[in-house]
Symmetry: C2
Subunit: 249 residues, 2 copies
């Protein structure tokens, strides 16, 4: 059995975080808290022992005895791992901590944990969004209902009647979000919506002074979106592709 913690003595450790770094025998770079430390240790145990999904990792009492940590601390570590999709918890007499089935969503979420909040992420998000536009819009064109089309035309109307720049961008956002809601691909939809809303900041200050240029830009954007919505309404995949190309210019 892997030794999880250096706490040979049953954790007469003082509260607070000062004592953590001094705890001996840490293999990984020291996480900040005992709970994170324990979570990392459990994750490594699962990896190194190659436990299959569904295998029993332990129970709260067993981990509590093994580490000497308080119940709340162990529980916190387990909560972290459950949130990350690593563990599956079952209550009841035969319950305990089990290795979870990894779904693509969970994998994606976990991968995103490794992507820090780098500044380039905004630009990258916009590029990603533009690239997903086709997948989303084609999916929408395939699955749209008459009700969907009516609502899309309404939202295009909002786009046309919006007064200021902010209102225009909000209407634009609402339209694209509504289109995405039609697309049946939940993964693509989640990524797309998640990266929406960051296109507004990119072009907001380009037309600070030039009213005429701003109006021309808006007219053009409106035309592009009308074309896009009508292409989706028609269900013509080729037309959608063309409209997306025009949209992303």
């Amino acid at each position: 059995m892997t030794q999880i913690s250096g706490a040979v003595q049953p954790a007469v450790q003082h509260p607070g975080t000062a004592g953590i770094a001094a705890t001996a025998g840490l293999k990984l770079a020291a996480p900040r808290s005992r709970a994170e430390h324990l979570a990392a240790a459990l994750e490594e145990r699962i990896r190194t022992q190659g436990l299959e999904p569904g295998a029993l990792v332990g129970t709260l009492p067993s981990l509590r005895e093994e580490t000497g940590y308080a119940r709340a601390t162990v529980s916190e570590a387990v909560r972290l791992l459950r949130e990350r999709g690593v563990l599956e918890i079952r209550p009841g007499r035969t319950g305990g901590l089990f290795v979870a089935e990894t779904s693509p969503v969970v994998r994606l979420r976990h991968t995103l944990l490794t992507v820090g909040d780098q500044p380039s992420a905004v630009i990258d998000a916009i590029e990603l969004r533009d690239h997903l536009e086709e997948l989303i819009d084609v999916g929408a064109a395939r699955c749209r209902t008459d009700d969907d089309v009516s609502e899309l035309r309404l939202l295009v109307g909002n786009l046309e009647s919006s007064r200021d720049w902010d209102g225009f961008m909000r209407a634009n956002w609402a339209l694209h979000e509504r289109i995405a809601a039609i697309c049946p691909n939940v993964m693509a939809r989640a990524v797309y919506v998640g990266t929406l809303g960051h296109l507004s900041s990119s072009a907001s200050s380009r037309f600070d002074e030039d009213e005429a240029a701003a109006a021309a830009y808006r007219t053009d954007r409106l035309r592009v979106h009308v074309e896009l919505v009508e292409a989706i309404a028609s269900g013509d995949i080729t037309a959608v592709g063309q409209a997306v190309t025009n949209h992303n210019l």
Copy 2:
């Protein structure tokens, strides 16, 4: 000021979850725990009052007084919101809870929380992956170094020399992951890698009996990947596009 909880009486509520649903005056559908309830209420307060990033939402003591909840409970709610990227917490005398700057990664992570582990997610993930292939490979073609190309050719060699189906898929996976590592778009890379590894399960049982068909399939896949890697090596964007199209057939 928005009333956050129905706890007019200072929470002489019993522990456990039974009493929660009975608490009066909930606007939203009842979240499971007090902490989640409070988190939802705070999120709604931020939305409805249109608080700007950087605005002060409150402090732990102020929320504690407002809700009557114990310190640990309020702290748990704040922890949830911080994890979701909604709040930014600053310690110190002038500290407190502030509305956070929302980065695209954080938004995406939060959006994915709403995507349950639906079975269709696997198929959706594969479709999403295929669609991202072009973005990833074009990015790789733009940024590749000579070292990258050498390693890619090595990995193609592994693909060729792999013996069984499992080994072939693993080599395939390693190759695509290495290509993705070249692409400079961190967001696209995270999504792509996160959805990788779920293509193997789709076609594994198609050639259970027919050895010749399996061999033909592998020869074809190998040819496609050689074409892809050479297109990336050449830096010819058009050739990459063609190779991706062939790859996704």
